[in-house]
């Protein structure tokens, strides 16, 4: 099973994304964090995913801050991050593609998201 953590402040979106991803690929096991703080709480409890889907626009700690904190930690820095966001402006897309393993704009097709997750996971397993 491939564990995927979704970090997004919209609980409804998280529920439907979890259901959708686990349905479209039986190899996915999805768990969710509704904030950056909750993401780090889960990581501290050793709930380490194979990949993180990270929203950018979140209150308190936004996606950039979450990314920075992840990459600053020796244990968590290797976890691949795909930005999953409604932001379509140039700077966000450009920086997101530079920093992350991929950048996907909402709304997205579930099939496309599944393919990009698998592509990222496969790329890493080949390294």
């Amino acid at each position: 099973m491939k564990k995927i953590m979704v970090v997004d402040d919209d609980p409804e979106n998280n529920l439907s994304l979890k259901a959708g991803l686990e349905d479209i690929d039986k190899n996915f096991e999805v768990f969710c964090a509704e904030s950056g703080e909750q993401c780090f709480q889960l990581l501290s409890e050793k709930k380490i995913p194979d990949l993180i889907l990270l929203d950018i626009m979140m209150p308190e700690m936004n996606g950039w801050e979450v990314f920075g904190k992840l990459k600053n930690n020796l244990e968590w820095k290797k976890i691949p991050v795909i930005f999953l966001t409604a932001r379509s402006d140039h700077i966000a897309k450009n920086a997101g593609n530079f920093l992350g393993d991929d950048y996907i704009e909402k709304p997205y097709e579930l099939e496309e998201l599944k393919d990009k997750i698998n592509k990222t996971l496969n790329k890493l397993s080949e390294m």
Partner: protein, 132 residues
């Protein structure tokens, strides 16, 4: 290891956090300043490195900040990169041209800005070697 210090002066929190994340990711020590007093305070404490400053920000008053950096002598040991939303630079820029390495128009590509900062840093380090 070379000293990779960067100060980003902008009043837009979104630009600040994005640039801070990008530059820290590639190994820079980053200071962000969203107003003139924070910027001057860091320079007084001895900041030396590359300074990215957005000059088209009404609240921050980039030109005023730039003038204070230069007229108070804080420019020495530092290099400047200007961020602007104006395609054609204001003629006031000529007063500071000897300290400016690049004029980058928003929206920009982070990789371009990264390369520009690296070039500036190289010129500071080369100068330090010559004067050491």
């Amino acid at each position: 290891m070379e000293d990779r210090k960067l100060m980003i002066i902008d009043d837009d929190p979104d630009t600040l956090i994005i640039l801070k994340t990008v530059f820290e990711y590639v190994g820079f020590t980053v200071i962000v300043a969203d107003d003139k007093s924070k910027c001057i305070s860091e320079l007084e404490k001895g900041f030396r490195g590359v300074i990215i400053i957005d000059i088209n920000v009404p609240y921050l008053n980039g030109w005023n900040t730039l003038n204070d950096i230069v007229s108070n002598g804080y420019i020495y040991g530092n290099r400047l990169i200007i961020l602007s939303s104006e395609k054609n630079p204001d003629k006031r820029i000529e007063e500071f041209s000897e300290y400016i390495d690049d004029y980058v128009i928003k929206p920009f590509d982070v990789e371009y800005l990264l390369n520009s900062v690296k070039k500036s840093l190289l010129s500071i380090n080369n100068l330090n070697e010559v004067t050491a």
